[in-house]
């Protein structure tokens, strides 16, 4: 009874705060509404006896939403919500898509027949998950770790101020002599050679000799 009341209270909170994310005037408030939604789902996971997952979700999202809020203050317009703000496009199409996906998944939950096999009462799910993580599912766990490492490296590479072809905020565009150009390409390459890589190299031994 108490379990059910708690479950429905946190379910309502999760859905309501999820809806408030896209109705808040301030993006910072939107980030914290999203955090409330994640925290409510984390509590529901704890009620389902998946304590580890629920607490990890709350911890992870607490950090991530704080980063998101700081990020929005740094980058976005109107972070404090001083003016009413709605920035939407194709609103009716999006509403229809959301309602249709809700109805489809809810129908799946109501009408599909899933096997009924509740977790036994006496077990310790966290202990079993730990044994699974470092046992049979070690490869999955390791793959997730390597994926996160690759994501970190890729994030640094993408957001670096130094782009591939120069400073990122100047566009970091490809140099135009690398564009295949039928007529002028051989001439330009020939013209580049005196002032190209050989040009700066010539005075340097002399300059070095002059210093010594």
């Amino acid at each position: 009874m108490i379990l059910n009341v708690t479950f429905w209270a946190f379910s309502a909170l999760a859905v309501f705060s999820g809806w408030r994310v896209f109705r808040a005037d301030s993006m910072v408030r939107a980030a914290y509404w999203l955090l409330v939604s994640f925290a409510a789902v984390g509590v529901i996971l704890v009620l389902l006896k998946a304590e580890f997952l629920g607490l990890i979700l709350i911890l992870m999202m607490g950090g991530e939403m704080t980063i998101m809020a700081v990020f929005m203050v740094a980058f976005m317009m109107n972070p404090a919500g001083l003016n009413p703000m709605t920035m939407v496009h194709r609103n009716s199409v999006a509403i229809v898509a959301g309602v249709v996906s809700f109805l489809a998944i809810a129908a799946l939950g109501v009408f599909a027949r899933f096997p009924v096999a509740r977790a036994p009462v006496g077990i310790d799910p966290t202990r079993r998950l730990g044994v699974e993580l470092l046992g049979d599912s070690m490869l999955v766990f390791q793959t997730a770790g390597v994926t996160l490492l690759a994501a970190m490296i890729a994030a640094v590479a993408i957001s670096s101020a130094r782009g591939r072809f120069g400073a990122g905020d100047e566009g970091s565009v490809e140099p135009d002599q690398l564009v295949p150009d039928t007529g002028a390409a051989p001439e330009r390459v020939a013209g580049m050679q005196p002032g190209g890589p050989d040009g700066p190299r010539d005075p340097s031994p002399m300059a070095a000799g002059g210093h010594t």
Binding site: A14, F22, M27, M60, F75, V88, S101, I105, A154
Partner: protein
Amino acid sequence: MTLQALVFVAAAIFGIGVYGALSQQSFVMIMMGLELMLNGTILAGGAMWALTTGGSPKGQMLVVVLMTVMAVEAAMGFALVIGVYRVRKADITEKIKRLKG
């Protein structure tokens, strides 16, 4: 706390996420929509683990993988927002309608 109720709630969260990801103009708000969709997915995964697998830890592994997906999505999303902002000075989707800048 039946499976139907849990999937119903998860579907509601997912549907709101779909609405947000499709309707918002700001890149960060689109990311929030995607995260909300993953939030619903995590809830459904946890519900399936608790009520249909008999406590097998492999069900929880699926939720761990979903959390990894969420972290990768957030990292890549922030990096792409910064990259697009550096090159185009754009923070909403309407400013990058063309791929060639």
